[in-house]
């Protein structure tokens, strides 16, 4: 795949160290910002709209449309970058910030200019301690060259960028919980409306845009090369390239940047080298970490393009593109249990169906895992899960229902083999061994 064009990992194509401002500037760095500052804010929004760029935080919302919701007449607005990256199996934003920090900062300034914000925050998960320090250092480098602060590049536009570290709570990746956390409140989601873009709904009540790191890191390239060039990459409804995070049972796990038109086979077989252990075959795939529906990793899935529209056709989502691959040694009951424990731990406790539901799901799966469950337990957890979806304050309630609903749908035997037959305990779940 040597002809692959990188947008987010451009340093790979030009073989330069983009952690250095001078190197970044030598290779188109801050050209997009210059173009943006020479244009009107609404023109910048139009370019991003026309590019077809969609949010990479999971939901795939059109970025330019999101920016256009910000009311112009409000004097104070904020731009916030979501660098919470806590979804199981996700490690792409980290790579952008570690290897291409200026492209994120440039994209952020373009976005802030487009919506008329003069203050921007980057909210990083607490564990990104070293990355926050590196970004702070980058911002100071930019200050020396007039790229941040007052009168950026002589344009008359001012913008300050600050980093803010979270402290270990997955829910703070949800945008309204993130805003609460940034305000020094408990990191729990807010009731909507008002939405963050509305007066009363954003940071300190002011209209606010929240975008994922990867989303924003696309923006400089779009400004430099134009909306059409960007739209030409990928598929009809999924423009551009995507960072795919691959983990689990493949020979070469890692982050790979590919156009949305690439198939799972190109990535998992051609690039990642297929199953990690000789003699085993692929069994299952979680394409969007713990939160999206699990699918059997068969030929049909392998030949599916990794776009928003194509993954929907096979009953799952591309979401944050956190591909967790499992070979045929894995019992999906164990996977469902792992993921359920994650959501039980991360439920913020604000709504009853999510708080109580994750607790019960975990308890019953533990029973099934031990070989002590019954057929009725499977029906029970399916009902609990179905009752959680769609009635909670944020999408975590739905995420937590997915592992149960989709395991029962796609891998019914994996659950059934562990339930009691005629009152006799069944075989407990075997755990994966080290070194697999």
């Amino acid at each position: 795949m040597s002809e692959t064009k990188h947008i987010l990992l451009r340093w790979k194509d030009v073989k330069a160290d983009f952690r250095k401002l001078a190197e970044y500037r030598k290779h188109e760095g801050f050209e997009g910002l210059k173009k943006a500052l020479a244009a009107k804010p609404e023109e910048v929004i139009d370019v991003v709209k026309n590019s077809g760029l969609r949010g990479r935080g999971g939901a795939g919302f059109p970025t330019g449309v999101k920016w256009s919701f910000i009311p112009k007449q409000e004097p104070i607005k904020y731009f916030v970058v979501n660098a919470d990256e806590s979804e199981t199996g996700t490690f792409k934003d980290r790579l952008i910030m570690e290897t291409n920090p200026y492209q994120l900062l440039e994209g952020l300034l373009i976005g802030a200019y487009a919506i008329g914000a003069h203050t921007a925050y980057i909210y990083l998960r607490g564990e990104f301690w070293d990355i926050a320090a590196q970004l702070d250092a980058c911002i100071e480098e930019m200050r020396k060259e007039g790229l941040v602060g007052k009168n950026i590049l002589g344009s008359g536009y001012d913008c300050e960028i600050y980093t803010h570290l979270g402290a270990g709570a997955y829910i703070c990746g949800e945008e309204t919980a993130l805003l609460n956390s940034l305000e020094g409140k408990l990191g729990q989601p807010r009731v909507r409306p008002p939405f963050p873009a509305n007066k009363g709904g954003g940071l300190y009540g002011e209209p606010t845009v929240v975008n994922n790191v990867e989303t924003i890191a696309n923006v400089p390239w779009i400004m430099t090369h134009g909306a059409d060039a960007y739209k030409a990459i990928g598929t009809e409804q999924s423009a551009g390239t995507k960072l795919y995070c691959v983990s689990g049972h493949v020979k070469k796990p890692g982050v790979y940047e590919l156009p949305f038109s690439a198939t799972f086979r190109e990535l998992l077989v051609d690039i990642c080298g297929g199953p990690s252990v000789e003699g085993r075959s692929f069994k299952a795939l979680l394409p969007s970490g713990g939160s999206g529906p699990i699918v059997p990793l068969n030929d049909k899935v392998l030949d599916t393009r990794m776009s928003y529209e194509d993954t929907a056709k096979i009953g799952t989502i591309i979401g944050s593109a956190s591909l967790i691959v499992m070979d045929d040694s894995v019992d999906i009951t164990w996977v469902a249990s792992k993921v359920t424990k994650f959501f039980k731990h991360e439920s913020c406790g604000k709504c009853t169906p999510c708080r109580e539901g994750t607790y019960w799901l975990d308890k019953v799966i533990d029973r099934i895992m031990a070989g002590e469950g019954s057929e009725r337990d499977i029906t029970l957890i399916e009902n609990v899960a179905k009752n959680m979806a769609g009635i909670t304050l944020c999408a975590l309630g739905e995420f937590a229902a997915n592992p149960i609903i989709h395991t029962i749908k796609q891998f019914p035997d994996d659950f059934k083999q562990h339930v009691k037959k005629d009152g006799k305990a069944a075989k407990p779940v075997a755990l994966p061994a080290a070194g697999d």
Partner: protein, 184 residues
């Protein structure tokens, strides 16, 4: 010592307070400073942070309790957090976690008698391609091909020698990982 009036932190405290239009927003960074000074988030730290952010101590305490990275009890000098979430567990993280506890002679979340190590398991740390991996005092510890017990024994021995030896070891593994990333 305190954090208020402590020269060591003065500049950082002021910087954090200046970052936000509302002092309350500084509660998280200031709790980290309190934790750095006292080794955990104790009542003195809470009271000082409350004073700096114009909040009630009970509010600050509830914030500290909400997040897992503020410790509500004293910790060892090195806080080892092993990821045992799905992607890491597919590559043997549960076993590594148990062996580590066994090697240190502690229970989950416990601290060694010499006060050197606290160990526990945590959820995904965004290092799944280098599974299994861990964090030591919030810094990534990752190696090409994933951490093994051999790595962890080396890490424990290095830390027992002195902090410099430990940091050098972690940096060496880190360089190997970075080289792999640049070449990929």
């Amino acid at each position: 010592m305190a954090i208020i009036g402590n020269k060591k932190y003065q500049e950082r405290i002021n910087e954090h307070l200046a970052k936000y239009p509302d002092k309350r927003s500084a509660v998280m960074p200031l709790l980290y400073i309190a934790q750095e000074e006292y080794g955990w988030v104790n009542d003195e730290g809470i009271a000082e942070v409350a004073q700096l952010c114009d909040m009630d101590a009970t509010q600050v305490k509830s914030i500290a309790g909400f997040y897992t990275m503020y410790s509500e009890k004293p910790k060892g000098k090195y806080w080892l957090q092993v990821c045992t979430d799905l992607a890491c567990a597919l590559r043997g993280a549960d076993e590594l976690h148990h062996e580590l506890l066994h090697e240190l002679g502690i229970e989950e979340g416990g601290t060694t008698e010499d006060g050197m190590f606290t160990a526990e398991h945590v959820m995904c740390l965004a290092g799944c391609d280098r599974a299994p991996m861990l964090q030591c005092n919030f810094h990534f510890v990752e190696a090409v091909g994933g951490l093994t017990m051999a790595h962890l024994r080396e890490l424990i021995a290095a830390a027992r020698q002195d902090d410099k030896t430990l940091q050098k070891l972690i940096a060496k593994w880190r360089d190997e990982v970075n080289k792999q990333v640049q070449q990929s």
